[in-house]
């Protein structure tokens, strides 16, 4: 650094996060230290992504495959951009049951892809546990981009990053997760992560959308929105997954909006300055009112998307250290 500079030197960038495991399958299995290191490192990538030259060479020569058995625009493109900004080659594969219809099993697909020697597989699947099953059968790093109703770890990490940047901390905050908890992997991963980082987590939903014994996960449970939102710093509302509902869980979406829709009136119960999040894609007028969704002083929805890229860069970088040739050389003679 130039000695003539009068500027106060910026704090040193945090080092790349390290993870004990080769895969990121869920928040369960991460330690608080690992999660915090990932969040710290992601800050660097927020800055990098705001520069004109957004690209580094950390993953140069690496191949990342996005393997999506369920369609997704947001998550898939977020991983693709994150990988490209780190210099990796990326390939998007949407399977969506086409190969499965031809009789190929998940593990057949995994074996085929594994033979192409990718370095990282980002996998989304409609069945809980499917990504873990696949991870056992491949030689590369696997990142869970959502499995059934189980986990979606990078979503929770990006949500935590978004909140931390806006409010400066996670510990001590009160978070309400509202809506379709039953079908939601986002809810589960966020419950695990925000609790791990010291927040109080509530769930708010009509009873049929609450999974059995959800209180055993350490959350407090509310069925009335105004009670659930009381004193909350952050309200996270979830997409009502109508496509997953075999038997109707609710009489109608208009009744749902009446009792559980996040609008200005409902937010009056929360802490002044409350922030609203949604993992997307939104059902406007079902779980969230458009005025709230589009009000940038309340809604963090656009921030979540931006943080998603940075967060995934931090995850990819951390996992790349487990790849052959990926670990930094230990300093010689160090004792």
């Amino acid at each position: 650094m130039s000695a003539s500079s009068a500027k106060i030197p910026a704090p040193p960038a945090p080092p790349p996060a390290t993870l004990r495991r080769r895969h990121l399958l869920g928040i369960q299995g991460l330690s608080p230290e690992e999660a915090t290191a990932l969040l710290d490192r992601a800050e660097t990538f927020v800055s990098q992504s705001r520069q004109v030259n957004k690209k580094t060479t950390t993953l140069r020569g690496r191949t990342l495959i996005n393997l999506f058995f369920e369609s997704s625009t947001r998550t898939q493109s977020s991983f693709e951009i994150a990988a490209k900004r780190l210099g990796a080659d990326t390939l998007n594969m949407s399977v969506q049951a086409s190969a499965v219809k031809k009789g190929e099993t998940l593990l057949d697909t995994a074996a085929t892809l594994n033979a192409m020697r990718p370095d990282m597989l980002v996998v989304r699947h409609q069945a809980s546990g499917a990504v873990e099953l696949l991870a056992r059968k491949v030689g590369c790093s696997v990142i869970n981009a959502g499995d059934g109703s189980n986990e979606h770890p990078t979503q929770a990490l990006l949500d935590a990053l978004t909140v931390r940047r806006r409010l400066g901390r996670i510990a001590g905050l009160r978070l309400a997760i509202c809506g379709d908890i039953l079908h939601s992997r986002v809810a589960r991963s966020n419950i695990y992560l925000f609790q791990m980082l010291g927040a109080e987590v509530r769930v708010v939903a009509p009873v049929p959308l609450l999974p059995a014994a959800i209180e055993r996960l350490g959350v407090s449970v509310f069925t009335r929105l105004e009670e659930g939102l009381e004193g909350c710093d952050v309200v996270m509302t979830l997409r009502l997954q109508r496509e997953r509902m075999g038997v109707a869980f609710l009489p109608s979406t208009r009744e749902y909006f009446h009792f559980y829709g996040i609008d200005a009136e409902a937010l009056a119960a929360a802490k002044p300055g409350v922030l609203v999040m949604h993992p997307g894609p939104m059902n406007r007028g079902v779980e969230i009112d458009s005025q709230i969704a589009d009000d940038v002083s309340v809604s963090l929805i656009q921030d979540q998307v931006e943080m998603g890229v940075a967060m995934r860069m931090a995850v990819l970088e951390a996992l790349s250290q487990h790849l052959p040739g990926g670990a930094p050389e230990p300093a010689e003679g160090h004792w």
Partner: protein, 431 residues
């Protein structure tokens, strides 16, 4: 053609039907038990007799397994009657009752006859078919119970399906009573179980899997027992999984209804926590439930509230199990672990040896009206020689079954079948 007499010497004769448990000998002639000699460990052998020195091991009636799925006809890659029979023999089981869930479904007399003929030609143990209760197991139209019974079906069941329509169930029960036929029913409300793949509770929430509540079983069981009260038919609960079913069954018994129940060895040895990590070999129907359920079912078995233990042997191919949990087939092989699981309950003190063996010999024989299942003069010489305490580790690779989907791979057991005889003929000897 006459076969030489067979003398079992120096055995511990255990016959739950008569309460016999004594050191002694047993003589077999022409495939039947000719004499029981308690107190005489080493009697003189009749001329030309083959002697089997039992060295103090347990000699008991061969086991009768009331719930076995095979792949014959229709899915021989999973299991044939021949391979199921080999597995049974290795497990000390001398009679298997096979389920009609095959392709085609065993829902007509000629198909019952087919199973019996295939078994006669290929199987080394006794095979008794159950016929379908409704055509195609579809729960809509009653199958030809009378004709199938005449052809040799020993009971009637929709296998692993529940009859949803109460009117159909009522008519099937009342028609079955005409023939004094036993109805064996899988009690699980199809609506409540529709999306479910495991027990509903904290673990299903943590795994993000849909659960099946206890009420799915108790609702159907309560309905069935109300219909038994209405019709007087003989009813057997194919498999109990929930402790909530116990008071329901006990109340019906107290009213004198002709009801009985079975539990699978898996439900006596495992609980839902074994699923952790989405292990599909632990996906069963009904699902494995909590440890409290397992303990309560074992206790109810000891008390006699539950009558029978079954293997619920259900072979599945790797391609149906090596898939995500919610997409995987249900079922586990069990013929070779039925006896070891029971002996484990004996060793831990939950069951006496006599009670443990009763649940797989005299009890199913009584329900099915079989002359096997006891050590008595004139009874078929279906016998098993058991080492009740030998320790070993089970490995899936050594199973005789054509499918290897056992939840007990790598599990340590104590006690197993050493030799098995059907009608006096040795069908298995542990090498």
């Amino acid at each position: 053609m006459s076969t030489p007499p067979l003398l079992f010497r120096d055995a511990r004769l255990v016959d739950p039907a008569s309460g016999l448990d004594a050191r002694g000998a047993l003589l077999v002639r022409e495939g039947r038990i000719a004499d029981l000699l308690p107190g005489e460990a080493r009697p003189a052998a009749p001329d030309g007799a083959i002697e089997v020195d039992c060295a103090g091991l347990v000699l008991a009636p061969g086991l009768i397994d009331m719930r076995v799925f095979t792949g014959e006809p229709g899915a021989a890659h999973k299991e044939t009657l021949a391979s199921a029979a080999r597995a049974a023999a290795a497990g000390g089981i001398t009679t298997i009752v096979v389920m009609p869930r095959t392709d085609p479904v065993i829902d007509e007399a000629p198909l019952v006859d087919f199973v019996l003929r295939r078994a006669r030609d290929t199987a080394i143990v006794n095979v008794l078919p159950m016929g379908a209760l409704t055509k195609g197991l579809e729960g809509e139209t009653m199958a030809e119970i009378g004709l199938m019974q005449e052809a040799g079906a020993v009971a009637f069941t929709d296998a692993d399906r529940s009859v949803a329509d109460s009117a159909v169930m009522r008519r099937a029960l009342s028609y079955a009573r005409t023939f004094d036929a036993l109805i064996c029913h899988h009690a699980e409300d199809p609506g409540l179980a529709r999306l479910g793949v495991m027990n509903e509770g904290e673990l299903s929430t943590r795994l993000g899997l849909f659960g099946i509540p206890h009420a799915a079983e108790t609702i159907t069981l309560q309905r069935d027992l109300a219909l038994v009260e209405l019709t007087g038919a003989r009813y057997h609960l194919a498999q109990m999984s929930s402790r909530a079913s116990l008071p329901v069954l006990e109340a019906a018994r107290a009213r004198g209804l002709p009801v009985s129940a079975a539990v699978s060895a898996a439900h006596l040895a495992l609980n839902e926590n074994d699923i952790a990590g989405y292990r599909t070999f632990f996906k069963t129907s009904p699902p494995l439930r909590e440890e409290d359920d397992r303990a309560a079912l074992a206790d109810a078995l000891a008390r006699g509230t539950i009558d029978v233990v079954v293997s619920c042997h259900d072979p599945q191919a790797p391609e149906d199990k090596r898939v995500p949990f919610s997409e995987a087939a249900t079922g586990a092989v069990g013929l070779e672990t039925l006896l070891p699981v029971l002996l484990g309950l004996v060793l831990e003190g939950t069951l006496s040896l006599s009670r443990a063996l009763e649940t797989v010999t005299a009890a199913p024989a009584r329900l099915l009206g079989l002359e096997a299942g006891r050590l008595a003069r004139g009874a078929p010489a279906d016998l098993v020689l058991i080492d009740p305490e030998c320790p070993y580790t089970l490995t899936a690779a050594e199973l005789q079954s054509r499918s290897r989907n056992t939840p007990f791979d790598g599990r340590r057991f104590q006690g197993r079948a050493m030799r098995t005889f059907v009608a006096g003929r040795e069908v298995f000897e542990r090498g």
